[in-house]
Symmetry: D2
Subunit: 494 residues, 4 copies
């Protein structure tokens, strides 16, 4: 319909290549609401008569309820399809007026921003729900001692609660990041025209208000051409996915028969078509791979925008595609992580056995040699290393089972100025079972530390929940109000 | 159906999350053919009775013609859906035998390889067709002199033919890369079992032959777990897209009113909903952005495989997704580039005007001062630079319009040991119009060089075309033969 | 020195492979200050005697002034090198005590955070300086009318000021993003131990205060193992670079002889070794390519962290490498962009000529036909399109030069209900020169809009400058105070 | 020195920003040899007198031996630095002649190609060496039975030899990929001039031969502007690194105390500054992270080239940077992997114990129920699943320890038509220890399969080694010959 300068129809292959119809299904309702707000403003500013206003608003209301009525064949995008529908239905003299003071360039980014804020609000709620599940598990597992790893090697003794809270803390930061972007995303680009604004005396602030925005993307060139806020979101989504992928990796490793610390609920586990004994953690594996899709989409968006000239270019259509894809993937991944963690089976006894059979209290022993027996740390480190070596050579015996003779041999070999008696005393005192109670630093594995964090985290969960509810309500109110305005104008006597 | 160890059904959200059904539509026919070949082999090896063989082959033949008959709801993938269909239709005693000596892990990569080789063969043909279009344009434009650019600044004088052939040469390399991978992709993984092979005395070479493969991926762990050949293809597709994106960028710039060297045919150009004067090169812009999607998919695949433990993991399902997406994108991009270039309108006069009004013969003048007047190049470079400066200051006058006095002034200022007369002689001789005929190096802008290349390139096009035809025929013959075997077995008297 | 369990020396190739010595040069001073703060705290908590305290503080002070004294050969990292230096210099009984209640795992991320906040503060200042340069140029160019582009095609008429402000607005968002992360980066991980905290009664809040941090990364597992805040920064740096790359691309295109809108100052332009007439915009090209390095570093960091198990892994060493690289690249790119824009030569006349010779007032004409003559927009769009076509066919005549006859012919052909007289009136009124004054929408190309934005932007620049100064002062004060404490303790009588 | 059109010096910050001096150290010797060959050709073609030829060749020979003599300060790149050196040393009339018929644009890609082919030849040798180490380990471990994993869950029984050969097969493909590119990289771009070739009658084939190239990159635009072959290499290097990262990941997991299948030699393992019991597999972790750097570099190169206009742009300088970085990383990673695998300690008993205590023979049991007892596979799969369930509930008893009563109970519950006696017979026959000997498919875990592969692989290793030696010799001969020519010309009487 817009073909003015180029003559004839688009080549069919080219049209298919250009068309964004598939992905536009996701923004169709926002597009219609945007047009309604625009028309209401035009009418209020005396730029549109009441008669065409009523007719178009009415027809748009029908399409909003039943978007299937829009013929999608032969169009490059949903904007063209809707205008063509209106022209066919209401005649050019009425339908031909919806683009006054507007262009597809401000329209499409309006739609994307409206879509994004809804998706974000859902994602916020899902993160909060996941944090809540983690906090519950953490509370239930204050006493579940387990090994902590560095380099995937047994490192220190901790507990599951401590581990879980490290991820609720990360998820809070993931949420913070996404949350702050809302103020940047919820600004209206509408009224920017193709690139340089309009000579029509439109009221950008009115349409922004009608559509529930907090303000404007002022500069019209910026509004139609920039996508930094979209990429910011795609980055924050990628970082969130990294968090989920790391949880997934830990749980995959812990689900092996060799670690055997946790087990996925049957409802989350896959089986094998070939190997009857299998119980596979497929959802966790897909959390890993979906992470890489979201990262791939981010790369697409950055490579796409690199050195893109200012002013709308068609490339931006594909940015919309990958952005909506990432939002959708992240949303489902949050749901699945929540289900998996909520239903996770913990093998507390296995975890405890692994602790008892480990040398992961070595650093604590060294520290207590410093604290109680006056060794410097590097020397303490050295002698405990030698004790471990001795214990390993005794068929992996526990450190506390070493005899006085053995200990004296180690002392002699290392020339460390300590008495065997003193060493023995520390070994008996700092056993794997008791060690986390000795931890005293803020944020350490001592369960008292976790209790504090759980308490403050629950408050944060509540505050976020309240604020999210408020955000959603503000949007709902605005769009409800738009609906009321539309209905009242539709019923106006001309 | 495979749920043996995990009890109960999968959680609904989890099932949706896990399911690859959408993308599996693209491999369904390959999956069925793979199963047919497997069954034929089992029968021939005495591992399956003729009765179940006939019934299953017959039912698979029905599904091949009408895949819509397969119930897709509630399954994680197409393999499970088909086996379930067969069991429902033919009973467990018959349908339950198709996985003997086989697993989904070798099955899925079999399907992907069969799909890939078909897609690749089409892509080869499309590259050849595009090269052919470029060669035709090059032949038509041997005399179209134009500016060549470095740093997007006017650099040397060349001609359009020379430019175009630089891209047919690149496309030949793109083709070479993809072409060689065929030998790696067309190997059968079938018969590798889940990871370690089978105790059933299957004949892997027989199924490979039935399905048109050139050999085996021997090691069963490698066959089910590696995806390097897929990533190799995704890399080669990315590099090909880079080539297309660079052509696109050149044409976008040349389509500006400021350059005005070329114009897209109307059937390829988009218009504006707002600005009536517009004729936008949208297909070219999408070539750029699609490039970044293919690159994003490559990044996904690399990040996905990074540090993935050996043995099939579910992550690989998402690799299939992005791989098939890239194949499809590249295929359509080749079509569009071919259409755009084939129908491109060349503004030869504009190109020539730009040449005449440029200083892009500067280097040639400098070179002739070396050749004919015995200056060293650095000195020649210096004096020509000063001449350009002088000409610029004279309201961008042409070099050949400089007067003897002006030239003498320049010689004096630069103290270059040359006579004004000699300089003038060279300036008159090395005019922008004539300069490419003076070029003598292999592969330079001299049209004689292009003629040679066009000739040899046409031969390469022919050779590739022949070979591609042969490749396709080999596959067709194999699968035709499989069909014949299936029919003959189906009709066998039990 | 730490080799306790593994015996013997590291293989030489392996040591080279593992060593982070090169990059550690950038964090050495932070490492020393961190150790000083840690020791001060240990002393104050009664965990270290005054004698060793004095000796170590004194030696560290020497190293801080002269880091070249540290032997770097044979160590995996700077932490080990410094401890070894201290042990050699002061004996094991003194030097061996610096790791009490500490580990390299909390130490290295402490150093990185201290380095990052300094680099960030510099980057903030540089962005502000760049914005300031842009605002100055914008103020000088309120009257520089020029074409605005979409799809790189002439779209609407605007002015340079409008263009420039679209980038100061983007840069403000880039700054906002980076600015908010400061609160997340300026938290202390020190005291987290290897992964699970310490049994030594250290005071994490005291060391945080001494080092100028705003608080703690509480959870010790999170503190040593997470890097989300680093990746957040690398994302924000990438997005900032995208902004710079788009400015660069515009200026590269505008610097072509064909556009000729701007020219780089000679001090920023490169020449050619071969082509004397060349003036190449190399710094702008490198802004583009450096963008892709920063993006590549981001990809590295995301791929590196994907599915990395919890707890410190050596992989994180390479994340440090790419992070510091990106900080350094961005810093220099901001400097260069500032220099290039500050010294940019604007060809106002060329810009204006291009405006006058364009049809980019088409949409404004169409809009005024709606406003003043009562056409619906789609019809107005159509008739203006036909006028452009007519003008193009008349050797690219201007729209205002069309004769009444010609206009009547167009009206007849398009059957648009308007009189030629009315059309002519609008064509005369809406000329390219006058059109931006007719623009009335907020954020449009009307210079009045830019004046408002320049005014408010200058206030923002001032506010940011003040706040950055405050931030820097807070850090300086804290570290100055640490120095004072160190000196007073060093001089303490034992 | 080249500053002709732009006046004055480059701004200092800008010069630092532009300079490629650091990285150019890696190509300096190639640059000098390239210049020598170019001069020899110029002389032979009568384009250069013998006197300047001798002097320049002589001076270049000095620089080749002692590149430190070249003043590096104040230049954008090494090409400019060398020409300036020659001019200073020999005067403009001699030194000013080296760029005749040449430009930095063909020169820099010449240097990169010469550097690349040397690096590649070393990388080929290193891959071959690594494959050889793997084959040796495989040969030593034909009898080392171990579990194979899918989804990181115990899947089937295999042996270490089978596992190792899956990676020698992958590495052969990695080698193939890189190997074939050699023919594309070893082509000379020299003589292409800045973009369009030269009017000087240079002999491109002569310089190509002197420098050991196999042919030309013919089209001068292509030769100076394309980098697809570089990106192809960076892709192949990335894929190779993926292979190494997956080996690393397996070994990291197998090195955990929980798996305990392997142990790094002490000379490859790191210790902890804090935890004395630690033995960390740091080199393996860095193989993972270096993979992501090489991938990041690939992304940089693709994003950099995306939509880059034809003709040399300065962006390509940064492509050189990341390319050389990737070559260097991959080279060291191959060395380290070879060291780690060559010295790896295998815990055969632990591997065997894990096999015996597993249910990983389930699929083999099911298969033998099909083979020997006539069940269909799906039914066999079901009953073995139930047996595993029964065994798990008996405190993880082995399948062969199930009593007749228990087996009958399972048969009853599943209604599978089989006798307990028959089931028992199979359970006793298909024990974990014996199962790999029953495997019969090509490429399965049966050690006979590995023997065949080891034999054929050793032949391939030999063939590659011979061919690599030949390749290196060809290059050496060519460059040795160039040296001879240079010396003979230098000594020529004028």
């Amino acid at each position: 319909m817009y073909r003015s300068r180029p003559k004839g129809e688009l080549d069919r292959d080219t049209l298919n290549f250009l068309s964004s119809m598939n992905i536009d299904n996701e923004i169709i309702s926002y597009d219609i609401m945007g047009t309604q707000a625009h028309l209401v403003m035009l009418y209020e500013k005396g730029l549109l008569e009441v008669k065409p206003l009523k007719k178009i608003l009415n027809e748009l209301e029908i399409l909003l309820q039943n978007p299937g009525k829009i013929n999608r064949l032969g169009f490059e995008d949903i904007h063209e399809a809707i205008e063509t529908h209106l022209v066919k239905k209401l005649g050019i003299e009425i339908g031909g007026s919806i683009q006054t003071g507007r262009s597809r360039n401000d329209q499409v980014i309006l739609d994307v921003r409206m879509k994004a804020r809804d998706e974000l609000n859902n994602i916020y709620s899902k993160i909060i729900s996941l944090i809540d599940s983690i906090l519950q598990k953490a509370e239930q597992n204050l006493g579940s001692i387990m090994l902590l790893y560095t380099h995937l090697q047994q490192a220190q003794i901790g507990n599951l609660s401590h581990y879980l809270l490290s991820y609720s803390d990360q998820l809070f930061r993931d949420l913070d990041r996404l949350y702050l972007t809302y103020t940047r995303i919820n600004k209206s680009p509408l009224g920017s025209g193709p690139v340089g604004g309009s000579t029509i005396p439109i009221d950008r602030e009115r349409t922004a208000m009608l559509l529930g925005f907090d303000g404007l993307v002022t500069n019209s060139l910026d509004a139609t051409s920039s996508r930094d806020t979209i990429v910011e979101l795609m980055s924050s989504l990628s970082i969130l996915m990294i968090t989920l992928s790391r949880i997934a990796e830990d749980l995959i490793i812990w689900s092996t028969q060799e670690f055997d610390y946790v087990e996925l609920a049957d409802k989350c586990a896959s089986s094998s078509s070939a190997m009857p004994q299998k119980k596979n953690p497929d959802p966790l594996e897909l959390l890993r791979s979906r992470t890489t899709i979201v990262v791939g989409n981010l790369v697409t968006s950055l490579a796409l925008l690199k050195a893109l000239p200012s002013g709308y270019s068609r490339d931006l259509q594909d940015l919309k595609l990958v952005f909506l894809n990432s939002l959708s993937i992240v949303s489902s991944c949050l749901t699945i992580t929540d289900i998996v963690i909520g239903s996770l089976i913990i093998h507390k006894d296995r975890m405890k056995d692994a602790v008892i059979n480990s040398y992961a209290n070595s650093i604590d022993i060294a520290e207590q040699l410093v604290m109680q027996k006056g060794l410097v740390f590097r020397t303490a480190h050295k002698i405990v290393g030698s004790l471990v070596e001795m214990a390993l050579s005794k068929n992996n015996a526990s450190l506390s089972s070493l005899s006085v003779n053995e200990i004296e041999a180690v002392i002699k070999r290392t020339s460390v100025p300590i008495k065997a008696k003193d060493l023995l005393e520390i070994l008996e005192q700092v056993t794997p079972e008791k060690v986390i109670l000795l931890r005293s630093s803020i944020g350490s594995s001592n369960p008292d530390e976790q209790k504090k964090v759980i308490k403050s985290s629950k408050i944060r969960v509540q505050e976020y929940s309240d604020d999210i509810r408020k955000r959603k309500m503000l949007l709902n109110n605005a769009l409800h109000n738009l609906r009321q305005v539309v209905i009242s104008y539709t019923n106006k006597s001309s």
